[in-house]
């Protein structure tokens, strides 16, 4: 068996497969099917300092090889997350990434301070959620915004800091560079691409929020391209995601430059996807006589 463990910003993952924020709750539901300890890590549902109801339904629509969602950060608030969900997770042998969002710079900083003294392994800043009106996406779409939020949070954050980028930008590498420069320990990408569907019979947008975030296999080529561009620009490690649905996609994403991956939408199609990915990755390495998964990271041989 090849070495599957990866070290990202000092945090050791037993394998590079992490479940993506918002698709995996706080792990409990999926743990009924297999011990989630088999995963490298879990990125928790995005939490905010206040309780959030999220957007009205319908919150999801299907698209060719994908979905658009407009959950809008429904969450129990960080306090309850820390009290009710985190202890259960921390009892498991899995890297726990807290994913946080906010409306203002202070929101983010407060959230981070609340998490500083918990057992959370890493903090992922969601500055790219397209489903909330204020804040959220606006921080994430200009390099100035990204630099400011990252450096403010960096100052107070005692945990390794992941900045999660929105793909809805003209130049992703510039944004990534801003995050790196401001002190991010890791970049994760991509969040969802803004999309829309309209019901041709009712003439209403399928999502009550009009637009939503596109994810799933449809976005995979865009995600690979962005991970590659970012890898060419920054030195900090990258967690790649967007449309991964099989082990082959994971290899592709790692060749493009990701040190680990997150899997989201594919859990809805087949909840064993992360396990199948881990198994497939291991076999691929074995078959190609690669002793260490880290040896494929960024090893695309571009023309």
């Amino acid at each position: 068996m090849a070495n599957l463990s990866v070290n990202i910003a000092g945090v050791e993952f037993k394998n590079p497969v992490i479940t993506a924020s918002g698709t995996y709750g706080f792990g409990r539901e999926y743990n009924e099917f297999f011990p989630i300890e088999r995963l490298g890590g879990i990125s928790c549902k995005g939490t905010t300092i206040e309780v959030r109801q999220g957007n009205p339904p319908p919150r999801i629509a299907e698209t060719p090889s994908g979905i658009i969602n407009s959950v809008g950060l429904q969450n129990p608030g960080i306090e309850r997350f820390i009290k009710e969900d985190l202890p259960w997770l921390l009892n498991r042998d899995i890297i726990v990434i807290a994913n946080i969002a906010g409306r203002t710079y202070e929101d983010y900083c407060t959230a981070v301070e609340m998490l500083n003294d918990t057992g959370v392994n890493m903090i992922e800043l969601n500055i790219s959620c397209p489903n909330v009106k204020e804040g959220g996406v606006t921080f994430g779409t200009s390099s100035g915004g990204v630099e400011k939020i990252t450096s403010l949070v960096r100052r107070v954050c005692k945990k390794p800091l992941i900045v999660k980028l929105s793909p809805n930008v003209t130049d992703i590498s510039e944004i990534a560079a801003a995050a790196e420069c401001a002190g991010a320990d890791c970049i994760s990408l991509i969040n969802t691409i803004t999309g829309m569907r309209i019901d041709i019979n009712t003439r209403r947008p399928v999502l009550r929020n009009n637009t939503g975030g596109l994810s799933g296999p449809a976005v995979f080529p865009v995600a690979v391209r962005m991970v590659w561009q970012v890898a060419n620009r920054v030195k900090i490690p990258i967690i790649g995601m967007g449309g991964i649905s099989k082990w082959q996609d994971t290899v592709e994403m790692m060749l493009a430059g990701a040190s680990a991956v997150q899997i989201g939408t594919a859990n809805f199609t087949d909840l064993y996807t992360p396990l199948k990915v881990i198994e497939g990755l291991d076999k691929y390495l074995e078959k190609n006589s690669i002793a260490d998964v880290n040896d494929i990271v960024g090893k695309v041989d571009a023309w």
Binding site: G25, E32, P56, I60, N69, G216, F268, D270, L271
Partner: protein, 255 residues
């Protein structure tokens, strides 16, 4: 024993109407534990999302669950093309069923494709229980014989009057409640129907449970997409159809 995601075989395929299909699926593990009103989440071809379909009947002895579904779009169209002997990737049993009680006299109210989810239910209340089944027309009517086997009375309503009373289930309901009483009402069907049933139940002080529909992704309560507005202890918020439902106390639903 808990939820399962696995491949299970279609052992019987019927087509009661032009657009409606009736599959028996061999899955002892599921049949053993599925409650009336629960649903399964079915992988439909190359679709990213599974499709939620209620379990219509369970047979523990034979290890079989039965699902009855209508073609509505691409997913159910794919499903309708499966053949006997093929396998389906099924995730279940999901959600909370109806709070059945052999000592209670229930009135089951189903509209259209909301009829199948109530069939298992009809065996799980007292033998005095009745049902009202509504369809667009005689040619859409399904499962009537099955309900007759389990219920004291089966009332039928069709919109065009080709079978039973002409009109909606709620018309029959109002007449019925004028001279008969029930301990509990269980309903499944289009939202306006559920709302009207819920209202009638409230006026008649009858406990009422409704099975709600919402678009789903994970089906197990992790992704929060299947939101349904509910009110608990006077506070409004979103419940989730896949985990907190699909069956809700009608008085908790914010219509």
């Amino acid at each position: 024993m808990g939820k399962i995601q696995d491949e299970f075989k279609i052992v019987n395929k019927l087509q009661p109407t032009e657009t409606c299909f009736d599959y028996s699926i061999y899955c002892p593990e599921l049949a053993e534990i599925t409650q009336a009103g629960q649903f399964v989440h079915i992988y439909c071809g190359e679709k990213t999302l599974r499709r939620p379909i209620s379990v219509c009947q369970t047979n523990k002895q034979k290890g079989i669950i039965r699902i009855v579904f209508e073609i509505r779009g691409e997913g159910t169209l794919w499903l309708s093309k499966r053949k006997k002997g093929e396998f389906l990737n099924i995730l279940g049993p999901l959600g909370n069923g109806f709070p059945t009680d052999k000592n209670k006299k229930a009135l089951l109210i189903g509209g259209g494709i909301g009829v199948p989810p109530l069939l298992e239910c009809s065996k799980c209340y007292s033998s005095e229980s009745s049902s009202i089944l509504g369809f667009r027309s005689q040619e859409n009517a399904i499962l009537i014989e099955d309900f007759i086997k389990n219920c004291a009375e089966v009332y039928i309503a069709t919109e065009d009057g080709t079978l039973g009373t002409k009109g909606f289930v709620t018309d029959v309901l109002n007449d019925l409640l004028a001279h008969e009483t029930f301990d509990v009402i269980c309903a499944c069907g289009p939202t306006p129907m559920l709302k009207a049933v819920s209202h009638a139940a409230l006026c008649n002080s009858i406990e009422c449970f409704v099975s709600m529909e919402e678009r789903m992704a994970c089906g197990i309560g992790a992704c929060l997409v299947c939101a349904c507005k509910t009110k608990k202890d006077g506070k409004e918020g979103y419940s989730h159809v896949c985990k907190n439902g699909p069956v809700f106390n009608a008085q908790e639903v914010v219509w």
